[in-house]
């Protein structure tokens, strides 16, 4: 039986250095479609969130176009993220070592991997990002439909729309903060980005950050 955190396509290639396949081409494509949507949504949403960023509507062809395309991009993101959810949910289930990892946040932020438990394909931080994104995207699409007046104005009362627009704004701010954490972590932990560009990481990276996952892949190979 394969471990919970081994995903399809995960594979070790012995050599110097060892390389590990982490994301299939499908997963990477799925990720980048979602990523582009999220960035476009953040830009178009922020344009309508505060007057100081209204100039961002210029990227989308003006205010009317920004108002028009934003919800459609949201629909694409929802469908795309659903694909990621199906791929990644199992490996993001919470495990005992995740609590220990969280409790040692000081070592995490200090880069002292030697003090942290061995972890699977995703650490607790990645899991929090995954579940936060999943939850927030549901909140955003539901509240978004309530304020998509072009097609759905008649289904909600004005007071419900007021709540929806407030919740939509707060969820959007939160997801942008989660996104900043996600991007920053990928930059700070060197060797990570190649997982989503080339699909593979070095064995050393896997040993340092996801040793349990690496051991599972190696033992599965034997």
């Amino acid at each position: 039986m394969t471990a919970y955190d081994v995903e399809s396509g995960d594979q070790v290639h012995p050599g110097r250095p060892v390389t590990v396949d982490r994301y299939t081409a499908g997963a990477r494509l799925n990720h980048w479609v979602t990523a582009i949507c999220l960035v476009l949504l953040a830009l178009s949403g922020l344009a309508l969130f505060t007057p100081s960023l209204y100039f961002l509507t210029g990227l989308f062809g003006g205010g009317q176009w920004t108002r028009t395309v934003h919800p459609w991009i949201g629909v694409v993101l929802f469908v795309s993220f659903f694909g990621l959810f199906v791929r990644f949910w199992k490996a993001n289930l919470w495990k005992a070592e995740d609590g220990t990892w969280m409790a040692r946040m000081r070592d995490v932020l200090g880069g002292h991997e030697e003090n942290l438990p061995e972890i699977g394909k995703y650490n607790a931080g990645q899991k929090v990002v995954f579940w936060a994104m999943s939850l927030l995207i549901i909140v955003l699409i539901v509240s978004g439909f309530a304020i998509w007046d072009q097609y759905f104005a008649q289904y909600t009362t004005i007071d419900q729309k007021r709540w929806a627009v407030l919740i939509h704004a707060m969820a959007a701010v939160t997801i942008i903060c989660v996104w900043i954490v996600h991007v920053y972590a990928a930059i700070w932990v060197r060797g990570t980005i190649s997982a989503m560009t080339k699909g593979r990481v070095t064995g050393g990276w896997a040993w340092r950050h996801h040793r349990k996952w690496l051991r599972e892949l190696v033992s599965g190979k034997k």
Binding site: T66, Q150, R162, V165, W188, V189, W205
Partner: protein, 315 residues
């Protein structure tokens, strides 16, 4: 001599030449404006509900002046036509059959609904498009359709449920208080058309004074609770009502008793905006500082060697 005081009506409209322009703006959506050097005299439309006969001449005049047409409708069981405001119909007479519990009289309450031109306009507060909603120093709140993006935020901001979004050009519409007429010294079209002078227009002070006379008259006729509707919750309005039962405005087709901009809207356009920008900025700055302090988290040669050992070191 008659033992009642005859209350004269002012002319249905009063010419106030103002020439509204960008220099007269006191508020502009999603922007800051410097107050105009010379503020215009605040104006107001006064609607005396007690004098309204429900003829809908105001609706016709509104359609005529604004060059709008509405489709032939169907009877929905009341005199209201159209049954609600639409992107083309900026004013609607709302008919209520109300039994006065004291007198047991059936009273036919007819309220001309439309934009109230709030001193503190919720639509303008909610609007994200710079200059799409403006307020002139005479109090008129106006939509600039060239700048409107059709997001519907004004609908959420308005405490009176007034703006309507067109499904044709996706822009918001409402009563302009005939700002284009007022700008050239004409009163609103509806006031001109009103055969009973139930709708009058002038400076806000004049209209309040006229309302006082009307209220005195109504009280002398037994309407003890007659009064002026100029709700302070939105800073007062530039469209006011004389109501025979000012103590219960809600009987006039749900005219709100104490309207104010919804606290949800206030939190959304206030705290959320500033706290949100601060939070996003803080996350970015914390990341930057963390990277500067901690340095990159790099994979060491030992890590690579350990991985090679684990995989058996085979090439």
């Amino acid at each position: 001599m008659a033992n009642f005081e005859f209350v004269t009506s002012p002319a249905p409209t009063k010419d106030i030449k103002v020439g509204l322009g960008d220099g007269d703006l006191v508020k502009r959506s999603a922007s800051t404006v410097s107050p105009p050097a010379k503020a215009l005299t605040p104006v107001a439309k006064l609607i005396d509900v007690s004098k309204c006969i429900g003829c809908k001449a105001c609706e016709v005049a509104c359609l005529e002046w604004n060059d709008k047409r509405i489709p032939v409708g169907e009877n929905v069981g009341s005199y209201d036509f159209p049954p609600d405001l639409t992107p083309n119909m900026f004013t609607v007479m709302r008919f209520t059959e109300w039994v006065n519990p004291q007198s047991q009289n059936l009273e036919w309450l007819i309220r001309k609904d439309g934009c109230m031109h709030c001193e503190d306009p919720g639509c303008l507060k909610a609007c994200p498009a710079p200059g799409a909603i403006v307020q002139y120093s005479n109090g008129i709140v106006d939509f600039d359709h060239d700048k409107c993006i059709g997001c519907g935020y004004c609908v959420k901001g308005c405490p009176f449920n007034i703006p309507r979004i067109s499904q044709v050009d996706h822009k918001a519409y409402k009563c302009t208080l005939c700002s284009d007429r007022v700008a050239v010294g004409q009163g609103p079209a509806c006031a001109h058309a009103c055969p009973t002078h139930a709708i009058v227009f002038g400076t806000k002070d004049e209209m309040k004074k006229h309302a006082d006379d009307r209220i005195k008259d109504l009280k002398s006729r037994g309407f003890a609770n007659a009064g002026l509707y100029d709700p302070p919750g939105v800073g007062g309005t530039h469209v006011m009502y004389v109501l025979h039962h000012a103590d219960q405005p809600q009987i006039y087709a749900n005219l709100p008793k104490d309207p104010h901009i919804s606290p949800i809207v206030e939190v959304w356009k206030g705290l959320t905006k500033y706290a949100g920008l601060a939070a996003m900025g803080a996350f970015a700055v914390i990341g930057l500082v963390h990277h500067v302090v901690t340095g990159a988290n790099r994979v060491s040669p030992e890590d690579e060697a350990n991985a090679e050992k684990l995989t058996g070191g085979r090439p």
